[in-house]
């Protein structure tokens, strides 16, 4: 969809409901999905029942994603938590022809270059899963507990920006949510405003 500039008219004001899709709600069951990964294997949420699952919306060309990958920050999280039994799924919802939509071969090449430690990279080119979850930006992260309940949605951390220097002092919301949930405690910051480039539906 093209970028549309909207001068604020009364018609757009009074009728404005700009959210075009549902949003997964923290505290409710996370939406089901069935997506192929870059090796052609299908993944569903249900098959990971009994484990924590992280869904990390990504677009390797977006400067905000680059901030977390070129610094090694994202891979560090992926490695640390998959070692604890968390299933970490990178998801891309770029539509064909849009930025970030790669062939499986390109994905494998780039994720190897970046040393991604995700459990799998899932492809959602028609955007249905992204819209079911309400993924707005890259990155945008969702954490699902072993019972299938969404326990976190939002930003990866609390320092919006593209400068890797911000990562050091930031509160990593995903790390905190996983640590709290895995200890059996409520997630204290369960819903934050994500930051990043828009998902290229």
């Amino acid at each position: 969809m093209k970028n549309i500039q909207i001068a604020f008219t009364v018609a757009s004001f009074l009728a404005a409901t700009v959210s075009a899709f549902a949003e997964a709600e923290v505290g409710r069951p996370a939406p089901a999905f069935s997506l192929a990964d870059v090796d052609g294997q299908t993944h569903t949420l249900a098959e990971h029942a009994g484990k924590h699952v992280v869904l990390e919306w990504t677009n390797y060309e977006c400067p905000f994603v680059k901030k977390h990958y070129e610094s090694g920050n994202m891979q560090k999280l992926q490695e640390a938590y998959t070692a604890k039994g968390v299933v970490w799924l990178s998801v891309n919802s770029s539509a064909p022809g849009k930025q970030g939509n790669f062939t499986p071969e390109e994905w494998k090449k780039r994720s190897a270059e970046w040393k991604s430690k995700a459990s799998a990279i899932l492809l959602d080119p028609d955007g249905q899963t992204g819209k079911d979850y309400g993924a707005k930006t890259t990155p945008h992260v969702f954490v699902v507990n072993p019972q299938g309940t969404l326990v976190y949605q939002g930003a990866i951390d609390d320092k919006p920006g593209t400068d890797p220097a911000e990562i050091q002092g930031a509160r990593n919301h995903v790390q905190a949510a996983l640590d709290e949930s895995m200890a059996g405690n409520p997630v204290t910051e369960a819903s934050t405003k994500s930051y990043g480039c828009s998902v290229k539906y």
């Binding site: 700009v18 707005k136 998902v199």
Partner: protein, 278 residues
């Protein structure tokens, strides 16, 4: 001169970019940035306006202080001469909306100016007097690129710079109007009450753009109605529907017509606390 949005944007684009003696334009990531002031004379104890001018390449936009669903607000770090201080907050023009498949963002295409008032000390430092600013932005089209520029300008300004800055200042949102605005709490919503300055003053429609997305959601339906007693109400969804009443609500009320009549700005800044009126 009409101050509706379309007119404002056209007008700014027509201001000629004549070369100025004491400011340099820095181009990065599809934006040309420069620092200007309206200080044609530097008066001890006085104030002037400093402006960051951003000219975006066609098709590209930068972001408002609340960028909306995606993007990143422009940031300005000022480096003022000895004794000079900021005399208020950075002022942002009313943004336009940019919509794509993922949602709605707020920002600027074409040209925009971010303004800050600066107070001059009672004793001037030695010349040359130089202001600088480190500006960072995100420029997006379909893709996004971060940009930055280190800008400098010396005082005094020339007449062309002053003309640009003064015009940019005139086009800023109003900070007050004859309308009385107050807020009250409702389940899941914040209700703004707008009392017109006179019984015959009307508005055809109003929308609220929140400054803080953790307080109010910019997306979602806002309900606008006119009460038979002559006041208006605008109900805005809270960011967290279970949250209590906010302590502070800041943002822009964008109306169809000028707030103070046909030749005035359609954008009004509001800064409400639970007990106060704007």
């Amino acid at each position: 001169m009409r101050r509706g949005f379309k007119a404002a944007c056209l007008g700014l684009l027509l201001l000629s970019g004549t070369a100025r003696l004491n400011a340099a334009v820095v181009k990065d990531a599809h934006v040309a940035a420069e620092l200007l002031t309206d200080a044609v004379t530097v008066e001890p104890g006085g104030t002037f306006w400093a402006a960051v001018r951003l000219v975006m390449d066609p098709g590209w936009h930068t972001y408002w202080k609340n960028p909306g669903d995606s993007g990143l607000a422009t940031s300005v770090e000022w480096n003022l001469p000895p004794g000079f201080e900021s005399a208020g907050e950075l002022r942002w023009p009313a943004p336009r909306g940019f919509e794509d498949g993922a949602g709605m963002s707020y920002g600027y295409s074409g040209e925009t100016f971010l303004l800050m008032p600066v107070r001059v000390p009672d004793t001037l430092p030695a010349t040359p007097i130089t202001l600088s600013a480190e500006v960072r932005w995100l420029a997006c089209q379909e893709v996004c690129l971060p940009g930055r520029a280190r800008l400098e300008t010396t005082l005094p300004a020339d007449a062309a710079a002053r003309a640009m800055v003064e015009e940019a200042h005139r086009r800023l949102p109003l900070t007050g109007s004859g309308w009385k605005i107050s807020m009250s709490d409702a389940p899941g919503r914040i209700v703004l009450r707008l009392d017109p300055p006179a019984r015959d003053r009307e508005t055809r429609g109003v929308r609220f753009l929140p400054e803080d997305p953790s307080v109010a959601r910019h997306s979602g339906t806002q309900f606008f109605r006119k009460d038979q007693d002559g006041f208006y109400e605008l109900s805005v969804p809270k960011a967290d529907s279970r949250a209590p009443a906010p302590n502070v609500l800041k943002g822009l009320l964008i109306a169809k017509d000028g707030w103070e009549g046909p030749d005035s700005s359609a954008a009004l800044e509001i800064n409400l606390t639970a007990q106060s009126q704007s």
